[in-house]
């Protein structure tokens, strides 16, 4: 049996050109015969059902219509067309503490707020002590509300609201109230509600909360439902939706040979999602290209592509606080048990991870470039650096802002170490962990384009040699001249990656 049936509702807002709020202005407007407002569809043809006992999430960007939808469900706004049917006692928490009176005491306010929520005095009396206990405000029962701190205020409001036993709850991000301990109690209360078979509708930007509580989720975009269903997949859709909103610095470019055809594909890692340009046209197209993840993002995560098992295909991996998480089962997410967790490598702040096939056996090893210029390569492949068994090279020469790289420049099947410094790439072709002009390959660059962008090594052509590539403003520049100068005509440009 459904608790809420939303049938084909649409909502139109009027956006006045100049807001007229007086009779005088309206009279003027009539005389000048101006169009007084524009129409704007906040919601269009929205239909869905919520089963009794179900928790439904509503997500979407700012201005996508989430709050409008919630307000229509709460009967605060009227839809211009369509109907909403609700069975059961509904409590809406678009804002906590509606109707609170600062001049009255906490006790009086509990009864007032409860009556605003449609709860009778008798019913409130029965849970009165429970409310004060839950809010931890028993001592302040007779204090005037104006003397409450904002935390106490919200606690009192939340406690009154949740103890009033509604069948259906509409919640607009009001969950994050109070300190950590109180938040835990709130989450426990929500779980309790779920266990009691109450229906909850939650509008939120906090994807973790949505993932944790919601059985199903609706994704709104520009007033229409673009996705509805299983929470995880809808959150993925949301992530890709935000993905097309333009590039931001946190987007990390990668080269990954995902399909194992010997050519590396362009890949962008952002918000925990991997976007792989499978058809090699330099642009991401959701139909022909691949989107994987989310891997679960934490600040400081560094994405890698690594052919750990030597099957010729590179897998996706994340380096997180000294540990390596390799997505062996190739679904873009990390599942403990199925996927590989290695390390810790002895994570020091500033460590930069690399995947490198140092020995040329077709499998890539894990390596760390440590500030100060040392290379630590995990030759025995256990994810931990063991002095003696593993390789320590360098120092390469310290310079702040150096970017380490593994690059198979010469096509001998082994990857070499390289450092990108400011605008130039230095490759250690004689493999001693040091760069010396004369014995190593001449510096590639300098190039103003490289200085502005992010470098990567990519075997774009599939000829077993990796080329030098710069990612800048969503475009990929391949150094076709192989001199690092990126002069006009000396590179091939692809992109922009996202349209």
């Amino acid at each position: 049996m459904s608790a809420i049936t939303v049938d084909n509702i649409s909502k139109k807002f009027r956006l006045p050109h100049h807001k007229k709020t007086t009779l005088f202005q309206h009279a003027l407007g009539l005389m000048k015969r101006q169009m007084t407002y524009e129409e704007f569809w906040a919601l269009r043809d929205i239909s869905f059902e919520v089963e009794k006992g179900e928790t439904l999430g509503i997500i979407g960007r700012n201005g996508s219509g989430k709050s409008t939808l919630l307000k229509i469900l709460a009967k605060v706004l009227y839809p211009d067309s369509g109907t909403v049917q609700i069975s059961g006692k509904i409590a809406s928490f678009l804002e906590l503490g509606v109707g609170f009176q600062p001049e009255l005491t906490a006790a009086e306010n509990i009864y007032i707020y409860a009556s605003v929520l449609g709860i009778s005095r008798r019913e409130t009396g029965m849970v009165y002590d429970q409310i004060l206990d839950f809010a931890e405000l028993k001592r302040f029962e007779d204090m005037k509300l104006k003397n409450f701190s904002s935390g106490m205020y919200t606690r009192l409001a939340f406690s009154t609201a949740v103890n009033c036993n509604p069948d259906i709850m509409l919640v607009d991000e009001a969950l994050a109230v109070g300190d950590t301990a109180f938040q835990k109690k709130c989450m426990a209360k929500i779980d309790e509600f779920k266990a009691q078979g109450k229906t909850i509708i939650l509008v939120s930007h906090a994807m973790d909360t949505v993932r944790k509580i919601c059985d199903r989720t609706v994704l709104l975009h520009n007033g229409v439902i673009v996705s509805l269903g299983d929470t995880d997949s809808v959150i993925l859709d949301y992530a890709s939706l935000s993905g097309s909103a333009g590039l931001k610095p946190e987007h990390i470019p990668l080269a990954v040979d995902w399909d194992g055809d010997g050519r590396q594909e362009l890949c962008l890692f952002k918000h925990g999602l991997w976007f792989i340009d499978m058809d090699h046209d330099g642009e991401f197209d959701p139909r022909s290209d691949k989107k994987l993840g989310p891997f679960g993002v934490q600040p400081g995560d560094i994405p890698l592509a690594i052919d750990w098992d030597g099957d010729g295909r590179q897998d996706l991996a994340i380096y997180r606080q000294g540990k390596w998480y390799i997505d062996i089962n190739r679904n873009g997410t990390f599942e403990p048990g199925e996927d590989l967790e290695l390390g810790p490598f002895g994570g020091q702040p500033g460590d930069i991870p690399l995947a490198i096939d140092w020995d040329g056996d077709g499998r890539q090893e894990m390596a760390i470039y440590r500030p100060g210029g040392k290379w630590l390569i995990d030759l025995n492949r256990n994810g931990i650096f063991d002095p003696g068994e593993d390789l320590e090279l360098g120092p390469f020469g310290v310079h702040p802002g150096d970017v380490p790289m593994a690059i198979g420049w010469d096509g001998d099947g082994r990857q070499d170490l390289a450092i990108f410094r400011k605008d130039t790439l230095y490759i250690d072709t004689n493999r001693d962990g040091l760069y010396r002009e004369g014995t190593d390959l001449a510096p590639l660059g300098p190039s103003p384009l490289a200085e502005a962008g992010t470098p990567l090594a990519i075997d774009w052509q599939g000829n077993r040699r990796q080329d030098y590539c710069i990612f800048l403003d969503g475009n990929w520049y391949m150094d076709s001249e192989r001199n690092g100068l990126f002069l006009e005509g000396g590179y091939i440009r692809f992109g922009p990656f996202f349209r």
Binding site: T21, E103, Y111, S115, G118
Partner: protein, 253 residues
């Protein structure tokens, strides 16, 4: 109607909150609020006492008229803000919006009742007795209440869209004060204008109040007809306007 009954506790709570806020939670607060009409009555008494050769009951005449007038003036001017002044109760939660107007009216009703309770002893002292017809007071008050409630519904909903209504209404209220027989006797009205003058429902209400509270006569039948018709008309027009406009309240506030 059914819904209003469901929310009767909220209506009552909001009425009490309104009263508590108005009188700062004290009994003295109410007495202070009486000070200004009583002072006004006193001033008028001294100013107009000899002007029209008043009888001994002029103080009672003035007080009853002023208090009856106050219910209209206070009820309508405060109702202008009944919706727009409580944005969170309109935009953040669903309650029948009429409750906001109704509770405002109820608090005015209670204030007005208290005021009458205070002036009845004064009337008794002035007249030396109280007419038995005073038992009809609640009936007249009820008709009056619906009249003012209808106007309140209209004002509160229109104000959401047109914010200069408060000033316009203030002017109108002042004009109506002089168009109603509050501080001057009806005999001043010439026969030519008398008919139109009596069409003003406020005049009729004031006359009826005085009839039952001072003169001990039953209200005239045409007074009853005019006031009941006016109350029904005000309520119907107010309700229709309110119901139509309330759909976009949450957007306009």
């Amino acid at each position: 109607m059914h819904e209003l009954w469901q929310y009767r506790e909220l209506t009552w709570n909001l009425t009490v909150v309104e009263l508590k806020n108005r009188y700062q939670n004290t009994t003295l607060g109410f007495l202070w609020s009486l000070l200004s009409p009583l002072l006004l009555a006193l001033v008028m008494f001294f100013v107009f006492r000899y002007m029209w050769g008043q009888g001994a009951d002029f103080p009672a005449y003035l007080l009853v008229g002023l208090m009856a007038w106050r219910f209209f003036a206070m009820g309508t001017t405060s109702s202008v803000y009944a919706i727009a002044g409580k944005p969170s109760l309109v935009t953040k939660i669903y309650i029948p919006r009429k409750i906001l107007v109704l509770s405002n009216m109820l608090s005015n009703l209670i204030s007005s009742l208290l005021e009458f309770i205070i002036i009845i002893p004064i009337v008794y002292v002035v007249l030396g007795h109280l007419p038995e017809t005073i038992v009809l007071f609640p009936l007249i008050f009820l008709i009056y209440f619906w009249f003012v409630y209808g106007i309140a519904l209209f004002l509160s909903s229109v104000f959401v869209y047109f914010r200069d209504l408060s000033q316009i209404w203030e002017v109108l209220v002042n004009v109506l004060f002089f168009l109603s027989p509050i501080f001057y006797p009806m005999v001043q009205i010439t026969d030519r204008t008398r008919f139109f003058y009596l069409l003003n429902p406020l005049t009729e209400f004031v006359i009826m109040y005085r009839d039952v509270m001072i003169y001990g006569t039953l209200p005239a039948w045409y007074s009853l007809v005019i006031t009941i018709t006016a109350s029904i008309a005000a309520y119907v027009i107010g309700s229709i306007t309110f119901n139509k406009l309330q759909r976009r309240f949450a957007e306009e506030i």
